[in-house]
């Protein structure tokens, strides 16, 4: 058993000796067993972003009353250039918005849509939340992992089949509820919906993607690639009006979505009729 020799008194104690008294500073680099070229440097990373991206980043910052609000869209913009959020991308956002890299990293690592490793041409997200899972979502995810794996090792969450950046490469992930429960089990490719899937249809889909084909989604725009949709999530849409309309007008009217409205139309059910001119209520003027 030990007894306390002296109870420390609260408050700061002035040091009796300063570090200066210990002598001159030691040249830590000089005595380090690691060679200088192997040490971490503070030099800024070379920016892979061109002047056009800088202009777009500034346009994003100008959209908001306070520029920091542009951080989420800007991280999407970074992903649209590089296919993931790299350390250079973090530094870029920090520089554009006057934030430290630590502040940007804190945000980038919080949100699941920001990928910290290079993504494939396509991102395949399988809903494995309870309802989809009960309807077959778990089986779809398992089957895709096995199908895309190599040497008997299934492909895991956020792993890529093929080489990122090359055509036909696919990153897979299990996703939380994708808000299409009436159409479950669902999956998304680059956030376009593929509804009412089965393990077989999902395997067929990824095989087509691997071959470089782009099967049309059930709901959404014609399939492009992960980088292109990240650009739209950043808030930049096709300049060409026709291309833009084709994307916007991509299908959405699934049978399931319309079921209630259709049943009402078939049975002649409606909401109560509105009066011709219902006045706004009278209130005392303030």
């Amino acid at each position: 058993m030990t007894t306390p020799s002296e109870t420390p008194r609260p408050g700061a104690e002035p040091a009796k000796e300063t570090f200066a008294a210990a002598g001159a500073d030691v040249d830590v680099v000089g005595i380090s067993p690691v060679r200088e070229e192997g040490m971490l440097a503070d030099e800024p990373l070379a920016s892979p972003f061109d002047a056009a991206t800088v202009a777009e980043a500034q346009a994003l910052a100008a959209r908001y009353p306070q520029s920091r609000s542009a951080l989420l869209p800007m991280l999407h913009l970074v992903q649209s250039v590089q296919g993931y959020v790299s350390q250079e991308g973090i530094a870029f956002c920090g520089e554009q918005l006057g934030l430290s890299e630590a502040e940007v990293s804190a945000v980038a690592t919080f949100y699941t849509m920001y990928k910290r490793k290079p993504c494939g041409e396509h991102l395949v997200s399988v809903c494995t939340n309870t309802l989809c899972a009960a309807l077959g979502g778990d089986a779809i995810y398992k089957r895709l992992g096995e199908h895309l794996g190599e040497d008997g090792k299934p492909l895991g969450h956020e792993q890529t089949a093929g080489t990122p950046g090359e055509q036909g490469s696919i990153t897979i992930e299990h996703a939380e509820c994708l808000a299409a429960c009436d159409l479950g089990p669902v999956l998304q490719v680059n956030y376009e919906y593929y509804d009412n899937q089965t393990p077989d249809s999902a395997v067929e889909l990824v095989d087509a993607l691997r071959r470089g084909e782009k099967p049309a989604p059930t709901r959404g725009a014609p399939l492009s690639d992960f980088k292109a949709v990240e650009r739209q999530l950043a808030g930049f849409f096709p300049e060409d009006e026709e291309a833009y309309r084709i994307d916007v007008d991509g299908p959405s009217q699934a049978v399931e979505t319309l079921r209630g409205a259709q049943l009402a139309a078939d049975r002649g059910w409606t909401a109560p009729a509105m009066a011709d001119d219902a006045p706004l209520p009278e209130v005392e003027a303030k």
Binding site: M113, T130, Q188, R219, L233, G250, A261, P279
Partner: protein, 427 residues
């Protein structure tokens, strides 16, 4: 007077070809409510929404008009209107089809609500994974601007409104209104301590109202039809129509817009009953954060009071239906894994609690559970419920406590083979 079983209001244009276009919307009374609203005063609109009894459609059911009236009458600081379109509650799939099918109804609602709250900048925070709705909204904003429904001096009224569509990046917690505001400010989406409430200090510490998509999209119809018309649907304290999203083991899952107070028995009739006739086992009235119901609850009126009186919550009216083939402990485990993943990490009960709950449930489902695990689960739940920073923690324990309440036998059955053998008890 009783309303029809289905009352298409929000969904009435969904069958029209290219329902998302401005031309379709204008052909079907679109923007007529805005013209009427701009002739009235902001106070009249707040009173109208109060009179209608419209309650928040995002889950909490707070009276929308009352929320609006919290906004200060002066404009010392800019006022903001923020639309919560971060639909992510498991089972919920109403706002995403609405924004795809009829984005202009949301935009018209935004302009009216912003006018009523003296706001000149509105943000629609859309879940990032909802790419197609984001496209449709952006296209609709562009159309509305060109037609003079947005921007400066809207329809010659002198009222200005800028509308920004903002994509999130994948975080369930951002559906919590103060976490959403932090996220919109470019930060990690973590909830804020209330008070101050957003109406006092919200976005950029300025007066802010956060409303759900379905709530705001209901406003143009209330302006056109009046409070009495709206109250012809639903029940006294929960008036109006509501989009019920029916998913799971039924014959015809889908979106059914019915008056509040409709029962599951009635909804099942609309959607063709249980799939292949396999009996109902359990269901959620409004997403996974609302305590489970069973076949005993077929006649519970699904409105804010009815669901609460029966021990659950109306939530988002995301009706997920599971038949007898589904294991309750497994379903509860899957939901718990979701909450563990989505806990933002800010407060200890939720961050640590969901982490342990998920591990215990995983072990039980894996066949290594003991009876004590059930008590431990309930004990951990008790330490999360009401002790977490925001409603995510409360939601996380809902499936567990209700699952054990109604299906304790199933949890016990998982432990049967792991009973400790007492020495001498075999004889």
């Amino acid at each position: 007077m009783t309303a029809d079983p289905i009352t298409p209001v929000l969904t009435k244009r969904w069958l029209s070809p290219q329902s998302w276009r401005l031309s379709t919307y204008e052909d079907l009374e679109g923007y007529s409510a805005l013209r009427k609203a701009l002739k009235g005063s902001p106070e009249q609109l707040v009173q109208l929404v109060k009179d209608s009894g419209l309650r928040g459609r995002g889950g909490a059911g707070f009276p929308a008009g009352v929320k609006w009236s919290f906004m200060p009458p002066n404009e010392d600081k800019p006022h903001y209107l923020v639309i919560n379109a971060d639909e992510g509650e498991p089972g919920t799939c109403k706002d995403i089809p609405l924004m795809m099918a009829d984005p202009h109804s949301l935009i018209e609602g935004c302009v009216i609500a912003a006018y009523a709250m003296r706001s000149h900048h509105c943000f629609i925070y859309v879940r990032g994974e909802a790419l197609h709705p984001i496209r449709r909204l952006n296209a609709a904003v562009r159309e509305a601007q060109a037609a003079g429904y947005l921007g400066a001096d809207i329809l010659g009224s002198g009222f200005d409104l800028e509308l920004t569509v903002h994509a999130g990046a994948g975080a369930y917690i951002c559906g919590e209104e103060t976490a959403l505001l932090d996220s919109l400010e470019g930060r990690r989406g973590q909830p804020r301590l209330k008070p101050p409430f957003p109406a006092a200090a919200g976005l950029y510490a300025a007066p802010t109202t956060v409303n759900n998509v379905e709530t705001i999209a209901s406003v143009p119809y209330i302006v056109n039809g009046g409070a009495d018309w709206f109250r012809q649907m639903g029940r006294e304290k929960s008036p109006g129509p509501k989009i019920f999203s029916i998913s799971g083991h039924v014959e015809r899952p889908g979106q059914y817009e019915a008056p509040l107070g409709t029962t599951l028995r009635e909804l099942l009739e609309l959607c063709g009953g249980m799939k292949d006739g396999i009996p109902l086992k359990f269901w959620t009235p409004g997403g996974s954060s609302t305590p489970l119901f069973t076949a005993e609850h077929l006649d519970v009126p699904l409105d804010f009071e009815g669901a609460a009186e029966a021990g659950s919550m109306l939530g988002t009216t995301a009706v997920q239906i599971f038949n007898e083939t589904v294991s309750v402990p497994w379903a509860v485990m899957k939901w718990t894994q979701f909450y563990e993943h989505e806990s933002c990490g800010k407060c200890t009960p939720c961050r640590e609690g969901t982490y342990w709950l998920a591990q215990i449930l995983e072990r039980m489902v894996d066949g290594h559970g003991t009876e004590e695990d059930i008590d431990t689960l309930l004990d951990v739940c008790d330490n999360i419920f009401g002790r977490s920073f925001c409603a995510l923690g409360d939601g996380a324990v809902s499936p567990i406590t209700s699952g054990i309440k109604y299906f304790r036998d199933e949890f016990l059955a998982l432990c049967e083979s792991n009973k400790r053998e007492l020495v001498g008890a075999q004889a």
